[in-house]
């Protein structure tokens, strides 16, 4: 397991702050790209994209999804999977897309700053 997965798997209380924002961004980006997904699919996609570095457990993922839902960035609805099982599918809302753009810009800027900072010091 990578360092990322360790931090992400930490108990609820300790992963507050930066990582909470990161999780929101990852989920919103995933839903914006792939359309409606259920919780497991979101986690699987993030794990796949990060080549297994980020493994979200249920205790982190679902409260996060619920929070995004409560804030109106995503909406959820019960539907059938291809195997005909009932699952809760999440999709991004218009507000969510706007939020994604804002956070993406912020993140990119921050990454740029960090990069040049680290580059200068190196």
């Amino acid at each position: 397991m990578g360092a990322g997965s360790q931090s992400i798997s930490m108990p609820n209380e300790e992963k507050a702050g930066v990582l909470q924002g990161t999780l929101d961004l990852m989920v919103l980006q995933t839903l914006a790209t792939l359309g409606p997904l259920h919780g497991y699919a979101i986690a699987a996609r993030i794990e796949q994209v990060s080549s297994g570095a980020i493994q979200l457990n249920m205790g982190t993922l679902y409260p996060g999804l619920l929070r995004l839902e409560q804030r109106g960035f995503i909406r959820a609805k019960w539907d059938k999977t291809e195997n005909n099982r009932r699952a809760r599918f999440y999709s991004i809302t218009a507000t969510g897309r706007r939020q994604l753009d804002v956070e993406k810009a912020g993140w990119t800027r921050m990454a740029g700053i960090m990069k040049s900072l680290l580059g200068e010091e190196a």
Binding site: Y40, A43, Q55, M58, L61, Y62, R67, G72, R86, R88
Partner: protein, 884 residues
């Protein structure tokens, strides 16, 4: 920010609407999918669970995000508390009941206090209003006197401290007649032209009177009526404007209705009609200039008034006394009622404060006993991993619930309780009626709820701490008295001892006040107020107007006297303590040379034969008037004080006096001597709190000065005779209206409203205190018997008899009682001078009330211990030993 708010809203909503099933289904699906993938990849179940975390924990995390955990905890605690309380309804009722009584009493008394002492008049800038009071002797109610017109004008024109000056005079018994209906007794307020303008009032309808309404002298024709009179008499019909009414038989026209909340400047007495006037005596109400202090205003007013008095004294060549004039704030209305009731109300606030303290202690000891009973349950929960903070919160929730319920019930009680207050207050003299309203006043509600919550936290925390004083292991073993440190036992007993002490204090106070009241009512009046009916006729509104009344009244008197149930009957102008008089005169006694400064000026009373018998005034020497006196040599009866002054050490009967007629001669006036035929005991004719007033009694038939108030001494309830008396009046004097029917007792009572208020309420509160102490003692003993069941079983198995066990438990009671008694006596000693300073003429020196209170509380304590003692003495040793 908006999103954050949305999240909170959703979570709040989620607190009330759980979706546990959905959450679980979603998580279950996740786990199934993870397991499928794991199987495909060849991982074991264990690895899946390790990676994903437990379903229960995850569900808990989601639930925490779904709702506000602390809020749902609170609701769960509340439900839990309600269930627990429902399981012990006696405990809940005792706790809620005692708190409700405490809070109800406080709310009611505070409402009264607020109404009388604090409520501002609904006028513009009430804080600027002042009134002028003349102080007499210290401790007396200050006189708010009427001013002569000249003085008023002088003050108005020469002061530099007042921005406005207005005035009024009151007629408390004005007759108001609307065309074609019977006259009604109302309170009329004659006001200066600028009155409404100075107060800044706006009419409900029509207009308020101004300077332009006032003629050069006397009364205006325009009248303003009160909103409540308009409402009750005209049902708020706007056509009232321009209506003709007769006030004291003078025609007036209604030009407007005063604003709804305004009833005149006197606390508790409601003006019904305002009529502008000028050039007559006037009571002043002023506005102080902004920036001028009351002290400054007072200094200038004193100087102005002093110079005025000195000018007059110089003209008349007399000496002047220095004038003591106080300028007092009048924003809450005239001070008279406030001064009259202020001390009584302070005392009552103190009493109900103690009562609330008692209720709080009661609640604390009940909660303590209860948490001791739940010790085992709590220990189990701590053992199972419940957080202590969480458990304390739960116990506090219970206390808060109890106090919330107590506060609520207390408010309801307060509404009911003010009914009693209103009845007591309404029995005052007509112009001193006080309407007490408990309205949902924000301030009052806040104070009350605050007290309730404070109680809950203070007394909910102690039991919670008690519950955790022992380690779970110890508590689980719960040996017979395990874990109770001496400190906690002392605390529990201390609470009950404090209750006993407080209730002894309250009951002693009650006994003192009741004794004081009964002395005021009966022993120091000089007459007997019971069983006397008073009946006032109104010859001015009959065909007997300005006709001789002596003969018809004598006929009526004879008829009344021969009525069954009437022992004797008489007539006079004013009965004692009615608040009226028929003047006073100097006299010259035969053979007595008087120093001018020691001259007596006795009150003059006109009575019929048998007056003394009817009022129960003892004749100390000589005889009563008799019908034979009419037309014979003039006779007089003097009071004992007059006899002592003019005939010290002699028998005045048979001696002569002459009445000195000054400027205003009485209608029987000339300088012929009156022969003293009797000496009557002293009475208090005017004010209950004054010393007996020297009095001369004349035979109204002999001096032919006839008045209209009949007194009947009855052998049973005087009000039962009232109808018969009215009928006899109709038979003898067909068109004579009866103006007023009351009893002498009611008349006396109307003079002692503050004292009755204190006595009646403290009677109630004292009883309440005793009940609360009883509940407390019962709770503690029942609890201690339950805890000692094991020990008692052992004792019985070793040969203790039922009597031994009863003594064991009773010893506890006795100990508590003694400790409480000592502390209570101490409190009483401390409280004595305080009570004496607040109530005039209170004589709290005797030990009787304290003994009475101690006896009463001891009886209550023994009664309260009866059930626990019985339970202890009837324990079956075998089952008691098995009791764990």
């Amino acid at each position: 920010m908006k999103q954050k708010l949305r999240e909170w809203g959703m979570r709040l909503w989620g607190t009330f609407k759980s979706r546990d099933a959905e959450i679980e289904e979603e998580l279950r699906f996740h786990l199934d999918m993870a397991e499928q993938d794991a199987l495909l990849q060849g991982d074991s179940h264990r690895e899946v669970y390790l990676r994903q975390g437990g379903l229960t924990q995850a569900a808990e995390s989601v639930r925490d995000q779904h709702a506000f955990p602390w809020l749902s905890d609170f609701f769960r605690d509340t439900r839990h508390s309600v269930r627990l309380l429902a399981r012990s309804p006696l405990f809940a009722a005792a706790a809620i009941g005692s708190l409700a009584l405490g809070i109800g009493a406080n709310t009611a008394i505070y409402s009264l206090f607020y109404t009388i002492m604090l409520r501002q008049l609904p006028v513009a800038h009430p804080e600027q209003l002042v009134e002028f009071l003349f102080s007499g002797d210290p401790g007396q109610v200050r006189d708010d006197g009427y001013w002569g017109w000249d003085r008023y004008e002088y003050i108005r024109d020469h002061n530099h401290v007042l921005s406005a000056l207005t005035g009024m005079s009151f007629d408390n018994l004005a007759s108001l007649r609307v065309d074609g209906s019977d006259p009604q007794t109302v309170i009329e307020e004659s006001v200066l032209g600028n009155y409404f303008e100075v107060l800044g009032l706006k009419p409900a309808i029509g207009r308020l009177t101004t300077r332009d309404d006032v003629p050069a002298s006397g009364e205006a024709e325009a009248a303003v009526v009160s909103w409540s009179w308009w409402n009750s008499r005209f049902d708020r019909d706007p056509s009232i404007l321009g209506k003709r009414i007769f006030v004291n038989d003078a025609p007036k026209t209604i030009v407007g209705v005063a604003p709804r909340g305004y009833f005149g400047p006197r606390v508790g007495s409601r003006t019904d009609v305002w009529i502008p006037y000028q050039r007559d005596t006037v009571r002043l109400l002023a506005r102080i200039k902004p920036g001028v202090t009351r002290q400054l205003a007072q200094a200038e007013m004193r100087v102005l008034l002093q110079s005025l008095v000195e000018q007059k004294a110089a003209r008349n060549h007399t000496k002047v006394k220095p004038i003591q004039l106080d300028v007092e704030p009048a924003g809450a209305g005239f001070a008279r009622v406030r001064e009259q009731y202020g001390k009584a109300l302070m005392l009552l606030l103190g009493v109900v404060g103690f009562l609330l303290l008692l209720a709080c202690i009661n609640m604390a000891s009940l909660l303590l006993a209860r948490s001791a009973g739940r010790q085992r349950e709590l220990a189990v929960r701590v053992g199972l991993g419940a957080g202590r903070g969480r458990l304390v919160r739960q116990m506090l929730t219970e206390a808060v619930m109890l106090s919330a319920a107590g506060t609520l019930v207390g408010m309801l009680l307060a509404y009911a309780g003010t009914g009693i207050l209103v009845r007591i207050m309404a029995s005052g003299r007509a112009f001193e009626h006080i309407d007490v309203e408990v309205h949902p006043d924000v301030q009052l509600l806040a104070v009350t709820a605050g007290i309730g919550m404070f109680t809950a936290f203070l007394f909910g925390l102690a039991p919670a701490m008690y519950a955790f004083r022992a380690t779970p292991a110890n508590a689980l073993q719960q040996s017979a008295r395990g874990g109770d440190t001496w400190l906690w036992r002392l605390f529990g007993k201390g609470l009950v001892a404090a209750q006993v002490a407080l209730s002894i204090f309250l009951v002693t106070g009650t006994a003192v006040f009741l004794a004081h009241l009964s002395r005021l009512r009966n022993f120091e009046l000089g007459f007997r107020s019971d069983h006397v009916l008073l009946l006032t006729l109104d010859p001015d509104h009959s065909s007997y107007k300005s006709k001789p009344l002596a003969a018809p009244y004598q006929r009526l008197l004879e008829r009344l006297q021969s009525t069954p149930g009437v022992r004797s009957a008489s007539i006079t102008a004013c009965t004692p303590l009615q608040g009226c008089g028929t003047g006073s005169r100097f006299l010259n006694a035969e053979g007595f040379v008087e120093q001018p400064e020691q001259r007596l000026r006795p009150a003059v009373y006109f009575v019929t034969p048998r007056y003394f018998e009817t009022l129960g005034i003892p004749l100390l020497a000589g005889r009563d008037f008799s019908p034979r006196d009419a037309g014979h040599p003039r006779v007089v009866i003097i009071s004992n004080a007059v006899a002592r002054h003019y005939f010290p050490g002699q028998n005045p009967v048979g001696r002569n006096i002459t009445v000195v007629h000054d400027t205003r001669p009485l209608p029987f006036g000339d300088d012929q001597p009156y022969e003293i035929i009797g000496v009557a005991a002293d009475v208090k004719p005017f004010e209950l709190r004054d010393a007996p007033f020297p009095t001369m009694y004349f035979d109204m038939f002999q001096v032919n000065h006839v008045f209209d108030q009949f007194q009947l001494r009855t052998s049973s309830d005087p009000t039962a005779i009232a109808e018969t008396a009215r009928r006899l009046v109709r038979e003898v004097l067909p068109d004579m209206p009866v103006k007023r029917v009351t009893t002498l007792e009611a008349q006396v009572d109307s003079n002692i409203v503050p004292e009755r208020l204190i006595a009646t309420l403290s009677e109630f509160f004292g009883g309440l205190g005793a009940v609360l102490a009883g509940i407390g003692i019962y709770g503690l003993l029942a609890f201690s018997v339950a805890r000692r069941t094991n020990e008692i079983g052992v004792r019985m198995a070793l040969g203790a008899t039922a009597g031994d066990v009863s003594r064991l438990v009773l010893r506890d009671t006795m100990g508590l009682l003694c400790a409480g008694l000592i502390a209570g006596s101490f409190l009483v000693m401390l409280g004595r001078p305080l009570a004496a300073s607040l109530i005039q003429d209170l004589k709290p020196e005797s030990a009787g009330p304290l003994a009475l209170a101690a006896g009463a509380i001891a009886a209550v304590a023994l009664l309260a211990s009866y059930v626990p003692v019985r339970r202890a003495s009837r324990l079956d040793p075998m089952s008691a030993l098995r009791h764990e």
